[in-house]
Symmetry: C2
Subunit: 112 residues, 2 copies
DNA sequence: TAAATACATTGCAATATTACGATGAATAGA
DNA sequence: TCTATTCATCGTAATATTGCAATGTATTTA
């Protein structure tokens, strides 16, 4: 066990869940918020900013990158990360679709 | 280790990460989608719908409930779940705030 | 060439999550 | 009362995630 049964769900459901995982850790939220604010793609002074070890930050960046939410380019000696606009908006629209499918509905109409 | 260092992050970051965890599994997405569609709060014919064991569905429902995203009321013999409108909208607005803080910006202005 | 800088990767250790069988509690119907 | 039905909880096994020290790879500077 301990393994998600992805075959039971649709591709869309699995994909959305994977993207949500990107946000499912405060460090990754902090990293994304920092990138959103700094805009100018920042590298790991995130280490100083967040107080986690360099290896740990590197790992979180790797995950965000593998999901396509951020991209990295070589900047001299260092690595410069920034939000991947296309993917970011795709994620946003997928989430919006989920949230907006909720029709508040007089809720008493049935039984809750 | 294996333990998130929540003390390094803000309450908001931790809270958002926790809410994101609700969506970080396809089964929970499927459950939420079902509740959104059926509106009329459904109980565990989710078991038949999703193909996971009853105990597993129950556990996922418990997590969604503990996050406040759904609420359950006794319906005769069974338990009827439905989306918690208030919390759902709160989550939506928190996510929107994050996503909209992205100003696409001519991206060449700096270095990415 | 010898440090120093900036990251990525590897290899653990510890905790978290996922899944399910088994069992328990509560209610409804025979 | 006996038996389904419906669901929660417990215990357990398996896998995933988090975090970091140590190490490796380039590149720059002295």
């Amino acid at each position: 066990m301990g393994l998600t049964k992805t075959d039971l769900f649709t591709t869309e459901q699995n994909e959305l869940a994977n993207m949500a995982k990107a946000l499912a850790h405060p460090a990754r939220i902090a990293i994304l918020e920092h990138l959103l604010k700094a805009n100018a793609c920042i590298n790991s002074d995130l280490v100083a900013e967040l107080g986690l070890a360099q290896a740990t930050i590197s790992q979180h960046l790797k995950e965000l990158k593998s999901l396509g939410l951020i991209s990295g380019t070589i900047e001299g000696v260092s690595m410069s990360y920034c939000i991947n606009a296309e993917r970011w908006k795709y994620f946003e629209s997928r989430l919006n679709r989920l949230f907006q499918s909720y029709s508040p509905d007089p809720c008493n109409s049935k039984r809750c």
